[in-house]
């Protein structure tokens, strides 16, 4: 059973560069296209795309660089956003709607309102964030699609 399931798992990883605002959204665009292509329900694809885009923007705006990994199993969409720093000192504070440390460059584009992490959580069935200052952050979300 496990072997059969594993044969049906897709795993793709995409690098995300820091401060590259012009490329921000490329990964989410690819992820959305792939999920649509797999025939997953449009409302679920939309939730995954929103979460992925917010996570990608966070990597571009805040991180020293990282990657987004998409894992699609027959029942779940897993999105992992991992970076190499700087880490989040106070996750509870970062999760507060309206709290933001985004720089002016992000705000000029219409972001940095402190809505990203709460919005990712709202789109997810399971949300987990692990962070160590100076080490990096790992955000994992799961969306059920069966």
């Amino acid at each position: 059973m496990l072997t059969d399931d594993r044969e049906n798992i897709i795993e793709l990883s995409y690098p995300v560069s820091p401060n590259d605002f012009s490329a921000a959204g490329d990964v989410s665009s690819k992820v959305k296209m792939l999920l649509k292509h797999l025939g997953i329900d449009a409302a679920i694809v939309r939730r995954a795309a929103i979460a992925c885009y917010e996570a990608e923007l966070n990597l571009v705006i805040h991180s020293y660089g990282g990657s987004i990994t998409l894992i699609v199993s027959p029942k779940e969409i897993i999105i992992k956003a991992e970076d190499t720093g700087p880490g989040i000192p106070d996750i509870e504070l970062a999760m507060t709607a309206g709290y933001s440390t985004a720089p002016e460059a992000a705000r000029e584009l219409g972001f940095g309102a402190g809505m990203g992490l709460p919005n990712i959580k709202r789109c997810a069935d399971m949300f987990d964030i692990q962070s160590q200052v100076g080490q990096g952050t790992l955000l994992t979300i799961i969306i059920h699609h069966d």
Partner: protein, 119 residues
């Protein structure tokens, strides 16, 4: 209540920048904002986005949200690279000389609601 995009175009006396063949599409709500963070948090699908921002992330935001049409207010017209992105994604782009407030008001008066859950 919903409006076809050709009705939106007439109400806002808008110029069609992309998608003149797609104006039969209907929208059942509208959102006026320059804050894409808010748009990403609150906008439902089949919503018309009105904004004064003309950068590529307006298109990206519309793409992830399944927003099929954007109205640029205050006569703004985005650059060709943004227009090309919209063409690739089949997103209709309109430009109106009305301000964001005026454009939203005119559409609201025509019966197009917001999605706050309040009348």
């Amino acid at each position: 209540m919903s409006l076809a995009l050709y009705e939106v175009k007439d109400i806002l006396k808008a110029e069609v920048l992309v998608g003149s063949d797609l104006l039969d599409r209907r929208v059942d709500a509208a959102c006026g904002s320059d804050l894409m963070s808010d748009v990403l948090s609150f906008v439902k699908s089949h919503t018309l986005l009105l904004t004064g921002l003309t950068n590529q992330h307006v298109i990206r935001t519309a793409e992830v949200l399944d927003v099929s049409a954007i109205v640029f207010v205050r006569g703004k017209v985005p650059g060709q690279d943004i227009i090309d992105m919209a063409v690739e994604r089949s997103i209709v782009l309109l430009s109106t000389s009305y301000t964001l407030f005026e454009a939203c008001g005119k559409l609201y008066m025509a019966g197009l609601p917001g999605k706050s859950g309040q009348a």
